[in-house]
């Protein structure tokens, strides 16, 4: 229990220190890259908590709670007018993927892919509930199938 509290505290502090409201004066391309890496990390972190301490639903909801508190406190870095913490809630769905399908590295890659797709598609779809989850599912399926093709090519 103590361990998970420390991990969550580190996550919260890194969110505030790294993102905070500092993204505004950075070039768009760098903003997008930071956003993608952040989504990958959130997905990785969610799967790690789900694997070690809680189940995937609790883990995603817990991270969502932290992100929701940030939004409530009006700490919201934005990339292309899209709140990073809102998009990051979708990355927790990527992190709900079982380690049977995706290794932690695979989840990170799926999270990065989700970040890229979300930044450019969510402005058109976010008015419908579940859009982030559907996008997360698509990204997971893409990465799972790419890994399968790579394994098949190598003859594993």
């Amino acid at each position: 229990m103590m361990k998970i509290l420390v991990v969550i505290l580190v996550f919260v502090l890194s969110n505030v220190l790294i993102l905070g409201n500092h993204l505004i004066n950075i070039p768009i391309l760098v903003q997008v890259l930071i956003g993608m890496l952040y989504m990958g990390l959130v997905a990785f972190f969610t799967q790690w908590i789900a694997h070690k301490y809680l189940n995937p639903v609790k883990s995603s909801a817990l991270i969502g709670l932290i992100l929701g508190v940030f939004l409530q406190l009006d700490i919201q870095p934005k990339i292309l007018e899209l709140s990073v913490f809102t998009v990051a809630f979708g990355a927790t769905f990527v992190g709900m993927c079982s380690s049977k399908y995706l290794s932690p590295r695979g989840v990170f890659v799926a999270g990065v892919l989700y970040g890229l797709a979300a930044i450019y598609t969510l402005p058109y779809t976010s008015f419908i509930g579940g859009a982030m989850g559907t996008l997360a599912c698509l990204c997971c399926l893409v990465v799972i199938n790419i890994l399968k093709i790579i394994q098949w090519k190598r003859g594993i």
């Binding site: 939004l71 913490f85 993927c97 008015f127 509930g129 859009a131 989850g133 559907t134 599912c137 698509l138």
Partner: protein, 170 residues
Amino acid sequence: MLKKSQNTNQNNFAILLIFLTQLAFCFIILWQQPQFWYIILFLVVSWIYLPPILAHNQKWWILLICSFLGLYVTLFLKNYCNTILAASIGTLLMQFIPKIPNYGKAIFYAGAFAAMGDFVILNALSTAIIPFVCATFAWFTQNVHNGIGGKLGTIGFLGATIHFVVEFVI
């Protein structure tokens, strides 16, 4: 042997449903709103390929009640905080309620996702359509894509999309 082929049919049907839902998502990106014709096509294709119903581990009425609770609690909490906080708080609280099976606790999250949309408000239409669609979709897809991230979101998305189209038509 017959049961095995029926099971395969049912799993293929479930994968078709998930595929069509994700295609609907891609169409929304293109046209920027759910298309009426696509939802009709979706329902017709689903009906044509509907396989024989087999015994399932999950109970449909539990899925229905839990997705309704997810929708209702999130819509209620949305009045007091942002949507992400509303969905997360409701789902975390649900985890502490005893005697509810794990699949019920999971489908609560799908109902919460559906409620996160901007246009969903608490009325008779949303409370009738969204839980029904979510529960039915979850019930059919219970044997496929388990453990793939975003499946619950896809379930919530279909409920929200069909509700959007029905409300738009009415």
